[in-house]
């Protein structure tokens, strides 16, 4: 196959012409994001208001759950559901306020992965309970 004449278009598998020299060439440019929904979002370095709000909210939710149980504010089954729901809510509060969930070098892949993990976790706990209750009192 004859060589191509010199063209300005890059040969196949070649990167486009670059401006900067002396930079270590990374796999992809920093900040280059393919899926918009997973674009990283860094928190500004100001007063840690989010942390304080998250802490206050978590304490409040904990106290609420504790008081509800101590004073039997609901019948047992409803109380249990409420306490677990409050726990789930607190988990979301802490994930959002403490854990820098949306920060990443590229796309924030931890978000869908973590979401899937929680779905599977709920499935495991829920289904296992359903599967095993039939054995109640049998073994």
């Amino acid at each position: 196959m004859s060589q191509h004449a010199v063209t300005h278009a890059p040969a196949p598998l070649e990167p486009p012409a670059r401006h900067g020299e002396g930079e270590h060439r990374e796999q992809r440019e920093h900040g280059e994001v393919e899926i918009g929904a997973l674009a990283p979002h860094f928190e500004p370095v100001a007063f840690p208001g989010k942390q304080v709000a998250g802490f206050a909210g978590s304490v409040a939710l904990t106290v609420l759950a504790l008081l509800a149980v101590m004073h039997h504010l609901l019948p047992p089954a409803a109380l249990l559901v409420t306490v677990i729901a409050l726990a789930a809510l607190q988990a979301v509060v802490q994930l959002g306020s403490f854990m820098h969930l949306r920060e990443a070098g590229g796309e924030a892949w931890q978000i869908p992965v973590l979401a899937l993990a929680f779905v599977i976790a709920v499935g495991i706990v829920g289904f296992s309970f359903w599967i095993m209750t039939f054995k109640w009192g049998v073994s």
Partner: protein, 205 residues
């Protein structure tokens, strides 16, 4: 490998994300946390099925008391908050600030572990060992696994303090501190579910 901060990026991207390999490491740790979520969910599934299987021995109502459980919860929650402030200091590029709040995190975490060990010892003194019943096996394993995770975290935090002191703040130590904070916050989230599904649920009856 520490890549130097690229001109123009200073301040736009935090120190711990400035190195591509480091940023990958952070993603890798998030993936590990996702697997740990599933691990704990299996232990919760076991506890959910075994919570009432007390085989004539001590029941949750017999063992669990509001005071110690709430105290442990506050200790760990405050520790998690302190850890958040540690990362805040990290973002302000303050090595001493980060180290100070990391030390506070550790102290509170140590308090948590101490209380929990005392709690377990008191149950054992009552004769409530995990041999006795499936409920006790499930309890000690679920809460104990969490406790072991916390203890390992304390060792990790100690190593981080040493590294901060010897090597200061750079892309590598910043990333490691950030990763530790993810681990520590995650452990508090798990504890929220333990407090609710084990201690509070145990008092509902």
């Amino acid at each position: 490998m520490n890549t130097p901060l690229e001109a123009g990026r200073a301040g736009r991207v935090p120190l711990e994300f400035s190195d591509h390999h480091g940023a990958l490491g952070i993603l890798g740790f998030w993936l590990f946390l996702a697997s740990d979520v599933v691990l704990f969910s299996c232990l919760f599934a076991v506890y959910a099925s075994y919570g009432m299987r007390t085989a004539g021995g001590p029941t949750p109502m017999d063992l669990f008391h509001y005071g110690p459980a709430f105290a442990e919860t506050l200790l760990l929650l405050t520790s998690s908050f302190a850890c958040g402030l540690c990362v805040y200091q990290l973002r302000r590029r303050s090595r001493n600030g980060a180290a100070a709040w990391l030390a506070v995190t550790m102290l509170l975490g140590l308090g948590f572990v101490g209380m929990e060990v005392h709690e377990f010892a008191s149950y054992v003194a009552l004769g409530a060992t995990w041999h006795k019943s499936a409920f006790l096996s499930a309890f000690f394993t679920l809460v104990g696994t969490h406790g072991l995770h916390v203890s390992f975290g304390l060792l990790w935090a100690g190593s981080l303090l040493v590294q901060l002191w010897r090597r200061g703040l750079n892309a590598v130590s910043a990333r490691r501190l950030y990763v530790f904070s993810l681990y520590w916050h995650f452990l508090d989230i798990i504890w929220v579910f333990i407090f609710s599904a084990v201690y509070l649920a145990g008092r509902i009856g």
